[in-house]
């Protein structure tokens, strides 16, 4: 469902040249209203992040990044991302291969289940892992206590919640691309004597590399920015289980506005880079579709 927003759009050639349109004053009015709305809701918040971060000078902006808690938060976020993105990459490749290269019963049901993490509130995405792994209320409380394992209020819980939230992105980006490729090229490779893995690495992967690249970058950005789900499972122990978004919240609540926004600029730049890449890939595919 939400993949309508996450995935790169394919180029649609214009059906015919449009000769009918609104009158010039009407066009100007509509354009002005649309631009006003977009500036108010999209541009202003983005500008506000950078303005608030640099408001008291570059010096204070940079000081944020020598705060040991901020460094811990950045390190934890990178660790969580390094765990969740590769796992979701493997899953995404497997799911896209199974869904696009074969016909089987229950495929649409499988795709619906794949979409579920999109439909669920991030708070509930955190709660479900608390219900299983909490050492006081979880299903697995007894074995976890017996083995002295901590999942909730620790790194594994944060990673699990992040994996759940970012699970659909790579698969969802790959499925339409692989669907469009069909299976003729793979069949040809197999006929020519290539094995399954060879076919995958030399035929399938090069064909979907841009979609895959964007899927990974998007998954990465979402993993680094996840707030609600992680807030529920992390316990927010400063220096231990505080990720970047959680530390932004902490700083903001402690009235350290400049530091909060300085840390936020990193995640905003990551978001902008993701948008830039998405548009580059769309532009590229539109260019090759026109030729």
């Amino acid at each position: 469902m939400a993949s309508i927003v996450s995935r790169t759009r394919s180029f649609v050639p214009p059906k015919s040249f449009r000769t009918i349109t609104e009158s010039a004053p009407m066009r100007w009015t509509l354009t002005t209203i649309a631009l006003g709305f977009l500036s108010l809701f999209l541009l202003m918040p983005l500008i506000a992040v950078f303005y608030e971060a640099f408001k008291k000078g570059v010096h204070l902006y940079l000081a944020t990044f020598s705060d040991p808690y901020a460094i811990d938060a950045i390190r934890l976020t990178l660790t969580v991302t390094a765990i969740s993105v590769p796992l979701n990459l493997l899953f995404g490749l497997a799911a896209a291969w199974a869904i696009t290269k074969f016909t089987f019963r229950g495929k649409s049901l499988l795709v619906t289940v794949l979409d579920l993490p999109f439909a669920v509130s991030p708070v509930i995405a955190g709660l479900i892992f608390v219900l299983i792994f909490s050492t006081t209320h979880g299903w697995l409380a007894e074995p976890l206590k017996a083995w002295d394992l901590r999942i909730i209020f620790a790194l594994p819980g944060i990673a699990l919640a992040t994996i759940f939230i970012t699970l659909p992105f790579i698969a969802r980006e790959l499925i339409p691309v692989m669907q469009a490729q069909g299976r003729d090229e793979e069949l040809a490779a197999l006929t020519l004597g290539a094995g399954g893995w060879r076919t995958f690495f030399h035929v399938t992967l090069p064909n979907v590399k841009w979609g895959l690249f964007y899927g990974v970058i998007l998954c990465n950005a979402r993993a680094m920015g996840e707030f609600g789900a992680v807030a529920v499972v992390s316990g927010n122990i400063k220096g231990k289980t505080t990720t970047m978004p959680l530390y932004i919240e902490t700083l903001y609540m402690e009235y350290q506005t400049v530091s909060a926004f300085s840390l936020a600029t990193i995640l905003s730049l990551l978001a902008l880079a993701t948008l830039l890449l998405k548009n580059f890939i769309e532009w590229r595919s539109a260019k090759s579709a026109r030729h």
Partner: protein, 280 residues
């Protein structure tokens, strides 16, 4: 005939290798990480007894939060349906400098971490903020109020309406509009009689997607809403508060209500998408 069908379909079905492996990974991953964890909410709520469940999901604080969450989400999604339509129309139909950049920026609410959006919107709409000082001088409290929740939910819902409508608008036949014009219909009539009905399924899908996203939203709302009990508490925040007070059964019961609402919406969205595909 039937045997021909079978021989024709079979090779396409399993000729490529890796079905067992990829299907095995996909199904186990989804079962372990999605299905079992989500089922925990329903299993745990069903174990708490009907009376306890009912009193948990109908307590005064919780009911007030449903009204805030569903009511404001509806208003925000409706705002997005109107302005998202306009934005999609302008971006697909008109050419002006900076169009591509704005088109790219439409995805910003989806790409920007919710906590960042939350503090940025609060900074803008607080009493001393760039936009807040203007609204406050008009007597509208934009931060720490229901208006603030509305602003945050409108922000996060926008891409859903625009991105659902854009491909359908690009796909609209120019000839039908030309025919309407040549038969003497004015632009307004062509719009209400031809264009709007053709775009309605996509518009409703976008509305439903924005609404579904809004009811679960947490990060971008909690900073600007002020979280005043009974007035500006959204349901996801109520769940978090229950958890912080170790009231796990209450948190789980309310989560079951929200999950049911999300699944129902997912079902409606699937129906709408099918309708939209049939219509185009």
């Amino acid at each position: 005939m039937e045997t021909r069908e079978k021989t024709k379909r079979y090779p396409a079905r399993r000729i490529l290798p890796g079905f067992g492996l990829t299907m095995g990974i996909t199904v186990s991953y989804l079962t372990l990480l999605v299905l079992i964890p989500l089922s925990a909410v329903f299993i745990r709520s069903s174990g708490m007894g009907w009376d306890a469940f009912w009193s948990a999901i109908t307590s005064r604080q919780v009911v007030a939060s449903y009204k805030v969450t569903f009511g404001i989400s509806f208003l925000a999604a409706a705002t997005n349906a109107v302005f998202g339509f306009l934005v999609a129309w302008v971006l697909t139909r008109y050419r002006f400098p900076g169009r591509r950049i704005l088109d790219a920026l439409v995805d910003l609410p989806f790409a920007l971490p919710t906590a960042v959006a939350g503090i940025a919107l609060t900074a803008l709409y607080a009493r001393t903020g760039w936009l807040g000082q203007f609204f406050y001088s008009l007597g509208i409290e934009t931060a720490y109020s229901q208006v603030g929740i509305y602003i945050a939910l409108t922000f996060i819902g926008l891409p859903f309406v625009v991105r659902t409508l854009q491909p359908v608008m690009e796909d609209l036949d120019a000839e039908v509009e030309e025919a309407a014009a040549s038969l003497g219909a004015g632009r307004a009539k062509a719009f209400t009689q031809i264009i709007l009905p053709a775009l309605l399924p996509a518009m409703l899908t976008g509305f439903a997607l924005a609404f579904a996203r809004a009811i679960g939203e947490y990060g971008s709302v909690i900073f600007i809403s002020g979280n005043i009990p009974l007035r500006t508490e959204i349901t996801p925040l109520v769940i978090v508060k229950f958890l912080e007070n170790y009231q796990y059964p209450q948190a789980t019961a309310v989560a079951a209500v929200m999950l049911t609402a999300s699944f129902a919406l997912l079902f409606v969205i699937n129906l709408l998408q099918r309708w939209a595909e049939k219509n185009s």
